[in-house]
């Protein structure tokens, strides 16, 4: 009965295809399931790993930057980055705020405990920066306290191994290691820096500048000695390559330490070469004579009667050391006659004087890689009186670095150069631009040399045997309230060597030198700036590869 009941039913269901379909469905489900599991395994095995390593690489961003090293022209290090620990706190992990504050204040007495406690008590914050660029020893000391929630992270810190050497040129960086002045700023603007989390120390191509550490040190050392010897308030000196405009050394005293940003705020530490403008005095006579020669209004042997003082309106221009006879142009230069220079300028006229100064690059502001150079201060009215005073370097104030470039043009054969801190290369070469004729340039070289070798020359004390030094002195009274301050001068000396084919130009400036026994109580440039220029040339000539004759 049972069999009868089941039998027909089974028979009716047609069992063979059902089996096949079912087992196929099960197998398919299994394959799909295992594929899914396999796929997931592959995904986790590969992707899980990537996610993990990415997470490790993208640490919290910092705002700091890596900077390229600065090297001198011989590859010696002027500025570099090192890693320095930054101390920070994670308030969420701090167990006892009071203990942390107590320990930190003990190490850093400058921390304000009240302020510190407040910022560390805010548990919503995960990162409180406490102090940047601490020394490794200090970091170790804090680490030894074993305070939870207090940790370190390495950040780039700019260091200047040579201390204040060339501090004015190098400039400063801010707390984030971004350049704010000098070559450091030029690096940010023209070379490029790298965010701290993306780079590593030494990954950027270093920047080679035109300075030579050995020459720079020699100049700074000689200037320091001069400041001490003559009781000067400050000094400045520059050495330029007359053919390329490369600055080999640029020093201004008192110096600034590039690592100390606040020093630049001190007016006494102003960069006297590029950031200050000065009436440079008689070294301007070099320009006046170059103008007269170039315009053809005079030659070196033309005689001028300089016995009578020049009168313009209420001004009377006299020679401080009158010779008492008419002088040739050569003698006007060597004896540094103000009246003679004034007469040459009057013959030329105000307009031509201005046009020549413009051509010599002394009217328009210029800039170097270390930043803009202070703009020349021109007279408000360019009348007859101004024409005369500018002829001997009063009434027109320029930055010494700008003047040095002009002087280089006058002795290098008459070709334009701009002061630069980059190494010159075929790519940086400019098209040749003639400023004065080769003949005028030769005449200026001749005059400068005779000012050093002639027995009456004001630059006698600058001579260095074998180096054919040529130069011109300048003693400018400092402007004060309602006129000039007597006995308060800027003594300067512009020199080039070797004069038969000049390679380097030297400009030395002493601010307010005092009379000493060695100078017979005088404060004129011939007794202070000239000998300093001489000792700079004697010391740096060999370093610069100039062999004496």
């Amino acid at each position: 009965m049972l069999k009868a009941a089941i039998g027909p039913a089974r028979h009716n269901l047609d069992p063979a295809p059902t089996y096949a379909i079912r087992s196929f469905a099960v197998a398919l489900a299994m394959v799909v399931a295992f594929s899914a599991i396999g796929g997931q395994l592959v995904r986790l095995a590969l992707k899980g790993q990537i996610v993990e390593s990415r997470a490790a690489m993208t640490q919290p961003l910092t705002t700091s930057f890596w900077r390229p090293d600065i090297l001198d022209r011989n590859g010696r290090l002027l500025a570099t980055d090192v890693e320095a620990p930054t101390l920070y706190a994670d308030p969420a992990l701090i167990i006892d705020v009071d203990v942390v504050v107590e320990h930190l204040v003990q190490v850093f007495p400058e921390f304000d405990p009240v302020e510190l406690r407040r910022s560390l008590s805010d548990r919503n914050r995960r990162y409180v920066r406490l102090k940047r660029g601490i020394s490794p020893a200090l970091a170790q000391r804090i680490h030894n306290f074993g305070l939870p929630g207090i940790a370190f992270r390495n950040e780039p810190k700019r260091v200047y191994p040579n201390g204040s050497l060339a501090g004015h040129v190098l400039g400063h960086v801010n707390i984030d290691n971004k350049g704010t002045s000098g070559i450091e700023r030029y690096i940010d603007e023209a070379i490029g820096i790298e965010a701290a989390h993306a780079g590593a120390p030494g990954s950027l191509e270093p920047l080679r500048i035109s300075l030579d550490i050995a020459v720079q040190h020699a100049v700074e050392d000689e200037l320091r000695a001069a400041v001490q010897q003559f009781g000067a308030k400050g000094a400045a000196g520059v050495i330029l390559d007359v053919n390329t405009g490369e600055v080999l050394a640029a020093a201004s005293l008192p110096p600034v330490d590039p690592a100390d940003r606040t020093q630049s705020l001190d007016p006494a530490r102003l960069d006297k070469l590029a950031d200050g403008v000065y009436e440079l005095g008689s070294i301007f006579k070099t320009l006046t004579i170059a103008m007269a020669l170039e315009a053809g209004t005079a030659d070196l042997d033309k005689i001028y009667d300089v016995r009578a003082p020049l009168r313009v309106g209420r001004y009377i221009i006299r020679d401080p050391y009158p010779v008492g006879r008419p002088l040739s142009v050569r003698e006007i230069f060597v004896r540094s006659s103000n009246v003679g220079a004034g007469m040459l300028a009057l013959e030329l006229g105000s307009e031509r004087q201005r046009a020549y100064l413009e051509r010599f690059g002394l009217i328009k502001p210029i800039r170097s890689e270390a930043g803009p150079i202070a703009a020349p201060k021109l007279p408000r009215r360019w009348g007859k009186a101004e024409t005369i005073t500018i002829a001997y370097g009063h009434g027109l104030a320029v930055a010494p670095l700008q003047f040095a470039a002009t002087a280089a043009m006058l002795v290098n054969g008459g070709l334009f150069v701009a002061p630069t801190f980059r190494m010159s290369s075929p790519e940086t070469a400019r098209p040749v631009q003639r400023i004065v004729s080769p003949e005028t340039s030769a005449a200026i070289r001749d005059l400068m040399r005779s000012n050093v070798v002639s027995p009456h020359g004001t630059g006698r004390r600058a001579d260095v045997p074998g180096y054919e030094v040529g130069g011109k002195t300048g003693t400018a009274e400092l402007p004060g309230r309602g006129g000039y301050i007597e006995d308060s001068v800027i003594a300067s000396f512009i020199a080039a060597f070797p004069m038969s084919a000049p390679k380097y130009l030297v400009l030395v400036m002493l601010h307010e030198p005092k009379p000493t026994e060695a100078t017979d109580g005088r404060i004129t440039a011939g007794v202070n700036a000239a000998p300093v220029a001489g000792s700079i040339i004697a010391r740096t000539g060999p370093l610069l590869g100039v062999l004496p004759n």
């Binding site: 299994m30 040579n162 201390g163 050497l165 120390p201 030494g202 040190h217 074998g466």
Partner: protein, 116 residues
């Protein structure tokens, strides 16, 4: 037949999973090795930067000059130089490259290690 196929497929899947796990484990290990090497490179680079700064600090002219003067050295004078051709008998000057009159004795080492 079906049962055998299933068993093979399951076995294959398990083998695959095991191989995959092993490969993944090895990869992770290698990755850690690479990371530790990278960290080491970074640390060494940082050390090199510090050492270069230190070398420059120790060879700064401000420090070398007083030391050199104390040893009796002084800045070289122009007269101390002679053109190689002018030397009698054409003896060669050792240690000085032509055109570079710097003597090694009065100026600190000019050489910096090569950058990478």
């Amino acid at each position: 037949m079906l049962r055998i196929t299933s068993a093979v497929v399951i076995g294959l899947a398990l083998a695959c999973a095991f191989t995959l796990y092993t490969v993944s484990y090895d990869t992770r290990e290698l990755d850690q090795l690479v990371q530790s090497k990278e960290r080491r490179i970074e640390r060494l680079r940082s050390d090199i930067a510090v050492l270069r700064a230190e070398l420059a600090y120790l060879s700064r002219p401000e420090r070398i000059e007083p030391l050199a003067r104390a040893m009796g050295f002084e800045p070289a004078k122009g007269e101390q130089y002679v053109e190689p051709e002018k030397l009698a008998g054409g003896t060669s000057v050792q240690g000085d490259t032509p055109g570079d009159p710097r003597p090694a004795t009065t100026t600190p080492s000019q050489q910096q290690p090569e950058r990478r």
